[in-house]
Symmetry: C2
Subunit: 153 residues, 2 copies
DNA sequence: GGCAATTAAGTTGTGCGCAATTTGATAGTA
DNA sequence: TACTATCAAATTGCGCACAACTTAATTGCC
């Protein structure tokens, strides 16, 4: 111990806002870690899983539309989708009606992989130790944050 | 539109767990974006800010201890701290009592920078649109998730 | 003392994420 | 038609994050 150390419990209370900032940072990492673990055996990263899920739900989508849904730009999605194409999970094709656009769709293998992952979110939720009500509240809170942070400049 | 497309609104309700997974992914990104914006003028990234805050609160700490507090390993912290050292925000020194350890501490400039950032968390919380009670609840939920995900293998 | 096992930090390789730029296609207009 | 502006995706560069490995110091045991 250094001689000038404070007793033990930090006296500074730190504002709630500061604690939230800190908790958000660390908790999300723990959350991601569980997904990483559960998805590893399926050969998927967490972002790849979200992409698979989003394409599966919304059907064939352009890269731009997928970016809106996932809140990611082409700089992130292009290489990610290229890897998923390499893994035979999705197909990419230029839109004949507008050659600027690239339409992404699930392959049969991608659909199969997605179906086999159906219980992963449930297992994560279980491990989180949250009650049903807490999950509902958390979901509403997260949506509220996104909306609020989105709208004003 | 492909011929076999479902009408429009996806009939699959998607489980709450799935929605939470998705919301966590997108919301955290929005949250980070606001921090990025507010911290940019101070020349700090969000992880650098968290590190600065953590070192500031806990006093000089070893890299390992900082990793426990921030939930990051040396593979992330070593280059991050090296950049912060280059920016004259922190100092790094081998512990004379155990030369394996590296002790990280705030420089005068680092302390000053940290102090000048005091209202950033408050501004982020404001923008989030959450009530005081929601902030309290969110904080408790996040802590509960971390604890629960940490403990069992 | 000598030496294997452990520990702390750093390094390497890969993927995610964003800002800024580039490439190529479409739209608009003289 | 030709020229410009706009738009979609891809590319480049940098930082964060983690797994796996390396390096160097300490501990433990003989």
């Amino acid at each position: 111990m250094s001689p000038s150390n404070p007793p033990a419990a930090a006296p500074s209370p730190l504002s709630l806002e500061r604690q939230i900032c800190y908790a958000m940072h660390t908790t999300v990492r723990a959350f991601d870690g569980v997904y990483r673990e559960l998805l590893a055996e399926h050969g998927l990263s967490y972002p790849q899983y979200i992409a698979l899920m989003t394409i599966g739900e919304h059907g064939p989508v352009t890269v731009g539309r997928l970016g809106e849904l996932m809140r990611l730009d082409s700089g992130t999605l292009s290489p990610l989708l290229k890897r998923m194409e390499g893994a035979r999970l999705v197909g990419r094709a230029r839109d004949p009606e507008d050659e600027r656009r690239v339409v992404v769709s699930l392959t049969a293998g991608g659909r199969e992989r997605l179906d086999s992952l159906g219980d992963v979110p449930h297992r994560v939720a279980e491990r989180s130790g949250l009650s049903r009500q807490q999950l509902v509240d958390l979901h509403r809170t997260l949506r509220q944050i996104t909306e609020s942070l989105d709208s004003p400049a």
